[in-house]
Symmetry: C3
Subunit: 130 residues, 3 copies
Amino acid sequence: MFKEFSISTENRYQLVDITKRVEEMVKESGVEEGLILVFTPHSTAGILLTENEEGLKNDWLEIFKKLTSEIDFQHNRIDDNADSHILSGLMGQGRVLPIKDSKIVRGTWQQIFFAEFDGPRTRRIIVEIT
Amino acid sequence: MFKEFSISTENRYQLVDITKRVEEMVKESGVEEGLILVFTPHSTAGILLTENEEGLKNDWLEIFKKLTSEIDFQHNRIDDNADSHILSGLMGQGRVLPIKDSKIVRGTWQQIFFAEFDGPRTRRIIVEIT
Amino acid sequence: MFKEFSISTENRYQLVDITKRVEEMVKESGVEEGLILVFTPHSTAGILLTENEEGLKNDWLEIFKKLTSEIDFQHNRIDDNADSHILSGLMGQGRVLPIKDSKIVRGTWQQIFFAEFDGPRTRRIIVEIT
């Protein structure tokens, strides 16, 4: 089952918890066991599993800076978002999780996040359940 | 086919080779061609494909330190494991590999590892074969 | 459907755009909706989704250096490619994308790349479509 939804981000870098929305789609799909791909068709955003805790969300922003600092990016001469592409590619734009008993199998502190690296923008999120 | 097993880790950071156990599950599954997801439902651990060589395993520990050093993490005020969450999220908690002729297709030096970032703990590993 | 092809790289680090070849395989497969795994069975290479822009491709090379610099790798005493293994494991050796209407769903600037971290070599790329 292929599903799609959109979200709007407000900041250049932002983590948006999409767990609830994705879990509703699994329920709707009727799939009892299998795989779910959560994917974003963008090259300056990512999908991430992490804990939804305010301090940690700020820590992620520091890591994004640390990973891409101190480089004179060539891509910035045509578009000022080389760091966004790098973070997107490194983190990856999708995550695959198992489904069992009609539910995503995940840890208590393992929420599903959309990671914005070049906002604010409207972004597509795709869910494929097999 | 959904399968699950547990492992116990001894150190805060540790790489545990789980290739053999995962390959036995593929054999048991009877699946001739398809996909396997190796996934850990935790937000302070990861799944990684790398070579099982003692020096390299130590090098990974140095990289874990390098990636998360020199940041005053906010999450550490409530739980002293921000670095564990960051490494888990960055590396990812799952890997998907192809199956052909009833075997995982992988390189000679491409072993499947569980990566502990906040041990020692008992950890769940999930295998979904489709 | 399981498919495989090879590419040859010319440099130690190199990004090779394989989008066209992979998309032809999706067409041939006849699969209308599902998943595609693009995977490389090597522990010193990766698969990456990023924009095919010359400046950005050079920026990636700078990031590869930044991520692995200033460490005296133990693995280099037996084989001078610890950094290649680290980059491969961190980035991951595969990417999973959704298929809809017989096409890979991806962003305009989200090309599929093979990432060489220890070239020049001949490398295998595996495509599993389900």
